[in-house]
Each structure stands twice: as C-alpha cells, then as structure tokens.
C-alpha cells in the first residue's frame, strides 16, 4: 500500500521535471526526437532505480547521525551527514561508469541504444536530486527507496516523452521567430507543469481502508488524463497545421 502510494506520488505529484525542475538541462537538450528521448528516459529510470537504494544504504549505515553504531558503541556519536553530497555524487559517478561497462559487455544492443546517454546521466541533476530528496524526505525502508527511485524515473520519462512528441509536431506550426526552439519549449513546459499541478489532490483525503481503491482508480484516470492532455496539445497543433495549409 505504502509502495503504491509513494509510486504514484513520485510519478505525478512530485514529478521531477514539473514540480521540482530537476534534470531540465538534458530534458531541454535531448527532447528534439522521440526516439532519443525514449533512450535517455529509459537510462534515467535504470540509473535512478540503482542509485537511490544504494545511496539509501550509505545514508542509513554510514552518513546519518548515529549510523555508525554497528561498528561499536564508541562510534555511535559520529554524524557524517555533511559528507553526503560528496558520497552521493561519487556513488552516482562510479555506478554510472560501472553500469556502462557491464551493459557494454553483456548486452551490446542495449548499449547501442542507451550507451551514449549514460555519461550524460552522471551529471543529470535528476539523479543526484533523487538521492537528496530521498534523504530529506526521510524515506523509511530500502524497498520504499527503490520504489521512489523507479517512480521518479518513470515520471521523468513521461515528461521527456511528452515534450519530445510535442516538439516533433511543433515544427509544423508558425511560432514567432524569436520564440522558436528554446523559448516555446519553456512556455510549453510551463503549461504542462500547470497541467500536472492538478494531480496535487490525488492522494489526499480518505481513510486508510478506502485509500487503496481510490489510488488505483485514480491512477488509471491519471494515465487517461495524461493521454488527453497530450491529445489536446496535438489537436491544437493539428489545427495550426490546417490554418497554415489554408
């Protein structure tokens, strides 16, 4: 139950791109084509799913106040949390490198589609952001941390997929010259973010027993809504094309 809630919360309500603006750089740079966007999105899901639980373990057993108690009572007072930035980023950079090597060795086809994005990901703020939010939101168990990593990865994937689809279509509409490219992408992202804000009320209200049913119903609704939003945008673009053709 907790898992389902956290999963949908991290996809829709706390969406990495639309609610916290993490990973915007690669989001803007690699969203010109759907195919490359899918590649990068998949790599982000993968790396988040690996690094968030790993950093959770680090945080829990090394960095937190009193986390070193397992070494013996004399270590129980240490608080190494000021080291967390450097530990997290080192873990992420090495993990990304490691994943790249393993994938290249065992699955060349996957490497061909994901490989070029992996080095990019080490400095994607979504990855470090995932770990830092995991720390500041005090996620309780390893399982929840994994769910959180996968959920926020999928949220990021959805966002980049949607913007890439819209940008492919927007080529056919007449955007004011000075807004072309970056400008219009920013404004569309802003509008999409406003759309995503409507998910805010999704997991509030209801008591424990009814919550489960609600979440499931809501979640199917949500995917439909996302589709609708995308569809609406596409319809608008289609209208624009018609106008131009006229």
């Amino acid at each position: 139950m907790e898992h389902v809630e956290l999963f949908f919360k991290s996809i829709f309500i706390d969406n990495m791109v639309f609610a916290t603006f993490l990973g915007m750089c690669s989001y803007l740079a690699v969203s010109k084509k759907v195919a490359t966007a899918v590649g990068l999105g998949a790599a982000v899901i993968f790396v988040l799913a690996v690094t968030v639980p790993l950093n959770w373990l680090l945080d829990q057993y090394i960095l937190q106040e009193g986390a070193l108690a397992w070494l013996g009572p004399e270590y129980a007072e240490y608080d190494l949390s000021f080291l967390s930035f450097i530990m997290f980023i080192a873990t992420i950079a090495t993990m990304v490198q490691l994943v790249e090597i393993i994938v290249e060795k065992f699955s060349p086809s996957l490497y061909n589609s994901l490989g070029i994005f992996l080095p990019l990901i080490a400095v994607n703020c979504a990855i470090l952001g995932g770990s830092l939010f995991m720390q500041s939101r005090e996620i309780a168990t390893l399982g929840l941390a994994t769910t959180y990593g996968i959920g926020s990865g999928i949220g990021w994937f959805l966002a980049i997929l949607a913007i890439a689809a819209i940008r492919e279509k927007i080529r056919y509409s007449s955007v004011p010259p000075a807004l072309r490219g970056l400008g219009i992408t920013f404004i569309i992202t802003g509008l999409m973010a406003i759309g995503f804000m409507s998910f805010g009320g999704m997991l509030t209200g209801g008591d424990e027993e009814t919550k489960e049913e609600k979440t499931e119903v809501v979640s199917t609704n949500k995917t439909e809504e996302v589709k609708e939003v995308v569809k609406e945008d596409e319809e608008k673009i289609a209208d624009n094309i018609k106008e131009i053709q006229k």
Binding site: F21, L28, F85, I89, A93, T94, L128, A178, G183
Partner: protein, 220 residues
C-alpha cells in the same frame, strides 16, 4: 579597467548578454527555476554559484595538466562537491532559514551543468587567471537571469521586494483600509509564486532577448 585587457574583459561581459549560460547555452536551468520565488533566495543562490564556479575554475585550471582525461569527470565532481559542502555549511551557520528554503538546491549546484560545462569547455584548456574571469563572467550571467526572474516573481506574486512591501499594504489599518496600489483594488497574483510561472517568465526573457538580437534566433 587597467587590470583587464580587452580580451579579458570580454570573458566577463560576453556571458552577460550574447552568450548567456541560461538563455543561450541552455545550462543550469534546474536551480534557476526552482528557487526564484523570492528575490533574496535568487541573490544568495547567485552568490553561491559565483563562489563555486570562480574558485572551481581556478582549481581545475591549475590541475589541468595532471588530470588523466579518462577520470576527469570524477575529479571535477569531487572539486565541485567539496566547494559546495563549504557553501552549504556556511549557509547553515549564518543563514539557517534561507538554507531551509533552498533545501536540496544548494546540493544540486554540484550537478549544475554550467559548472561542469565551464570546466570542460574552458578551464581544462586555459590558464588560472583567464579561467577565473570566465567563471565569474558565467556566474554573473547566470545570476542576472536569476535575479530578473526573482524580481518579477516576488514583485507580482507577493508585492514585496527582499521582503519589503513596495506596492503598499494589502490589509492596512482599520481607518484607512488597504494602502498604496491595493487601495485602488490591485491584487497579488498568487500564481506567480507557483513553480510553472518560472518557466514562463524565463521563456519571455528568451523571447525579449532574441527579438532584440536577430542573430540568436534558432531554427525550429
């Protein structure tokens, strides 16, 4: 300026306008958007980035001949992370409230693409003094956008600047009622405080900038 040759001065002024890291190079967007609801947070963030980028560029530039190119990303990350930890601890000690507002975004300076971008593109190939100027210039270019966005969002969203009410008092005393612009029926636009508006404000800045300088216009 006597200290700077023309070329050096260009290193500082270029990123402020035609080669701005945010609006032209598309680097460092994440933090630019998330913390700009208040002017004060924007200013502190700009100063932090100024410190990290200026100093980091010098350090990397000094080490540029001894870093093996295969592991340079990790070396760069470690340098940035160390500097960011210093910033974070200073903020926690002297401006605790503010460091709560900035929350994880101080840590995210590490993965701010401006920093890695400048390390890769400039500091690895140039001497320390030039790299320092380049770092300062780019951090200022980043800061300018942050402060513009923060200015408009705070002014239109809460009617204050740096926490001081500049558009009058929305509640006022019982005798006079709301003062200033609020007396004329003006209302704050709470929407400006929400995160999506940051994207739209930056979009408008890009629009204005590119209308003024046609050379910057992109293909679709």
């Amino acid at each position: 300026m006597g200290l700077l040759s023309k070329k050096d001065a260009k290193l500082i002024t270029d990123p402020l306008t035609d080669n701005n890291p945010i609006t032209i190079q598309v680097l460092g967007i994440c933090s630019a958007l998330a913390i700009t609801a208040e002017l004060k947070a924007s200013i502190v963030m700009s100063i932090s980035v100024l410190f990290v980028l200026g100093l980091g560029n010098v350090v990397i530039s000094l080490m540029r001949n001894i870093i093996p190119s295969k592991i340079r990303i990790i070396v760069q990350l470690i340098v940035v992370a160390t500097l960011v930890i210093i910033v974070d601890l200073v903020l926690k000690a002297f401006a605790y409230e503010l460091s709560k507002t900035l929350s994880v975004f101080v840590g995210l300076i590490i993965t701010n693409c401006i920093i890695m971008g400048r390390f890769e593109a400039f500091a690895l190939g140039n001497g320390p003094w030039k790299s320092f100027l380049d770092g300062i210039g780019n951090a200022l270019g980043y800061g300018v956008i942050l402060i513009i966005v923060g200015f408009f969002r705070e002014l239109l969203g809460s009617g204050t600047l740096l926490g001081f009410p500049v558009l009058g008092d929305p509640i006022g005393s019982p005798e006079t009622g709301p003062t200033g612009l609020y007396g004329l029926g003006y209302e704050n636009n709470g929407f400006m405080l929400l995160s999506p508006m940051a994207l739209i404000v930056v979009g408008i800045i890009i629009w204005v900038q590119r209308s003024r300088n046609k050379a910057l216009i992109e293909e679709n």
